[in-house]
């Protein structure tokens, strides 16, 4: 048991390091732009440039076959690349992640030769950005409950309805779109998947203002949007099967320790500089107990990731343990931030530079509710662990084998 690379991994790592040393933008040049506002011109330019460089070197999608511009590598090699890339000022939070992680794989699985030939390369090179259009106001946790109507008209489809929680829609060129083509079929049977241009007439993107004031997501409205049948992915009525391919990728994507940035280390830093009723905060038994409780959860997650990487390194499928990250991280962020504000006392009610550590904990506390919901609520994730990991029986389903338009909807 150790934390070392295998000989092959070590070789790949040094190859990657050498390449990054030679090619990664240094702080002097456009690296600064990576720190700029997400979606801003400078940020986008820097992201595209870096993506192109990686793609040309074959590092953009390491597990993809060489033929489609990948490296023909293993998952562990992808992990190693990410680790090393993370040491450079190249941002992360990439605008291409969703497209390359979810949309393009779906396209490669279900698209025709032409589409694949046309769209994979530009996406890989960062020239075109893709987004994923599944969630709707009426279909959140219950994605298949979506209502967006697509009606066949000759060899094209007319689409009307609304999508929501679409990340990156504001700067996306294309999207994959899940629609309902047969409201008389059972819920999961009447769906069909398409891809379309986000610039198509009738597509309108509006940012969603979150409780925190920020806008990370969008609503996308569709009015008589025309999609040629040639842009259908999978058979008519088979959309749910196609979507599952995509969503499987999402779980992995979101599963990663999002929001883990604010943790025990920061809490200790805060406590070092605070006096409580009975003396230094870091000497307070209740504070120490909380630090320990949260530390063992964070450390547990960290070493769980090591176990997953080990499985990858040994060429095995990572076990279900990979699915627990978000359910641990999100509530911890909320509780830890609230506790930190309690330590700060009256000053904890202040924001930004008026609060200790530039309001880091206030920001974490405002962001936590979203993290507990986006990409699968705490409750849905527990269902997934119980059903897919532990194999417990599904809940009673009353929405099977009933025409979708006969389902009770509360409307």
């Amino acid at each position: 048991m150790d934390f070392e690379d295998t000989k092959e991994e070590a070789a790949f790592r040094s190859e990657v390091c050498a390449w990054l040393e030679a090619n990664a933008p240094s702080e002097k040049d456009d690296a600064a732009d990576f720190m700029g506002e997400r979606g801003g011109a400078g940020w986008m330019k820097a992201q595209r440039a870096w993506q192109a460089k990686k793609a040309k070197a074959g590092y953009a999608c390491i597990t993809w076959p060489k033929e489609v511009g990948g490296y023909g590598g293993t998952p562990i090699q992808q992990v190693i690349f990410n680790q090393e890339e993370g040491k450079f000022h190249v941002g992360g939070n990439s605008p291409f992640a969703i497209g390359l992680g979810m949309c393009i794989p779906t396209l490669m699985a279900y698209g025709d030769k032409e589409s694949i030939g046309r769209y994979v390369k530009p996406a890989l090179l960062g020239e075109e950005i893709w987004c994923q259009l599944f969630s709707e106001p009426a279909g959140g946790s219950d994605v298949a409950g979506l209502r967006m109507r697509a009606e066949k008209n000759g060899d094209e489809w007319i689409v009307n309805g609304q999508k929501i929680w679409t990340t990156g829609a504001q700067f996306s060129d294309y999207g994959i779109l899940l629609t309902r083509t047969d409201p008389n079929a059972a819920k999961h049977k009447g769906l069909t998947m398409f891809y379309l241009s986000m610039k198509a007439p009738g597509v309108e993107v509006r940012p969603i203002k979150q409780a925190s004031g920020a806008s990370g997501f969008n609503e996308v409205f569709f009015t008589d949007v025309k999609i040629p049948d040639s842009q259908r992915l999978g058979e008519v009525g088979q959309g749910w099967g196609v979507a599952l391919t995509t969503l499987m990728h999402e779980r992995l994507a979101v599963g990663g320790g999002t929001g883990g940035s604010l943790d025990v280390k920061e809490l200790i830093a805060l406590a070092r500089n605070l006096e409580l009723e009975d003396g230094p905060a870091l000497k307070n038994a209740s504070v120490r107990e909380r630090i320990a409780d949260w530390y063992v959860r964070s450390a547990g997650l960290k070493y769980t990731t090591y176990r997953t990487m080990t499985a990858l390194s040994r060429g095995q499928q990572p076990g279900p343990e990979a699915s627990i990250a978000k359910i641990v991280v999100a509530p911890k962020l909320q509780d830890l931030s609230a506790f930190a504000m309690e330590l700060e006392g009256e000053a904890g009610a202040l924001k930004g530079d008026d609060a200790p550590m530039h309001g880091a904990f206030q920001m974490g506390w405002m962001g936590a509710p979203g993290l507990r919901i986006a990409g699968g609520t705490d409750e849905i994730l527990r269902n997934i662990i119980a059903e897919r990991v532990l194999g417990l029986p599904p809940d009673v389903r009353v929405d099977k084998d009933i025409p979708f338009n006969k389902l009770p909807s509360g409307r």
């Binding site: 979150q210 409780a211 004031g213 006392g345 009610a349 309001g359 509710p369 389903r397």
Partner: protein, 375 residues
Amino acid sequence: MNFDFSDDQKLLKDQARKFLTEKCTSKAVRRVLEGTQGHDAALWKGVAEMGWLGTAIPENYGGLGLGYLELCVIAEELGRVLAPVPFSSTVYLFAEAVLAAGSEEQKQKLLPKIAAGELIGTFARAEGPGAVTAKNIRVTFKGGKLSGKKIAVVDGMDSDYAVVLARGSDEPGERGLTLALVDLKAAGVSRRAQDSIDPSRKHAEIIFDNAPAEALGKIGEGWVTANNVLNRAAVLMAFEQVGGADICLAMSKDHAMSRYAFGRPIGSFQAIKHKLADMYVNNELARSNAYYGAWALSTNARELPLAAAAARVAATQAFDYAAKESTQTHGGIGFTWEVDCHLFYKRSRELGLALGPQRAWKDKLVTELELSNAA
């Protein structure tokens, strides 16, 4: 056993609810939350006209002299609608400080103005992050002059007067502290608005530079009086918190009944059911603790410190839980700006910190238990 409000008090509650439902919609709260105004002036005027500001102020000082149980029921209603007015700063804290420690002259001068809605007051305690303890109060009050800095003063920008906890003598620790009454429009006072996690209650930093001030109560009694005032305010604030927590539960329930997923109302899933049941239990326990606090407050019982701490802790925990889990129950829309969940999420935390964090109150509570040997 007569451990509930009287019919008259319940009638007052109904009137308050009717008035606020009409005059204090979430639109009104959002206007203050999103704007630069420190409070809703029209609502404040209305609240004054209803006579609520003088509820517990004796008639000879221009109040209604109704008492504290009446003030509790009004507080609960204000809490339900997140009323964006400087009610707690002015009534629970400033007026209580004046009533507790003010000279006859000070009472005559200030209380009628408060009752009439012509004076907004606040209470300034904290000077930085961490606990407010006798030894870390650095603002000085010497020779009628106040100097130093206070932070996170609720309604600080809108207030005409403030009661300031300051070091009034060279006596060490608590015995060196005094309450000072200061006109915030006087020379030597400068204020700066501070960003708050709940902008529907604005905070301010106030800097005193030899600002003219007068003692409120005896020199050296500042700490004792301040804690007494905080205990009284904690009970009243607990009713606001319980009111807010009940609305979070009601919103969650409505959403759980009307929102369908997987062909069923989400309220038919145990994950939601049990979450709401827990909210209900917390809220009931908080309400009962608040009632006991109300009894102790209205009778000046010697149990007040214990009752106030218990009411404060239970109400803070209930509102925190209800606000965060109501957002969770609402799912995606729950963390959008346009749905009201975040108004309660923000207020729950702000009220939980305004009179000092749970930790400090829990410590007081146990100290009381050690003395009383009750529990």
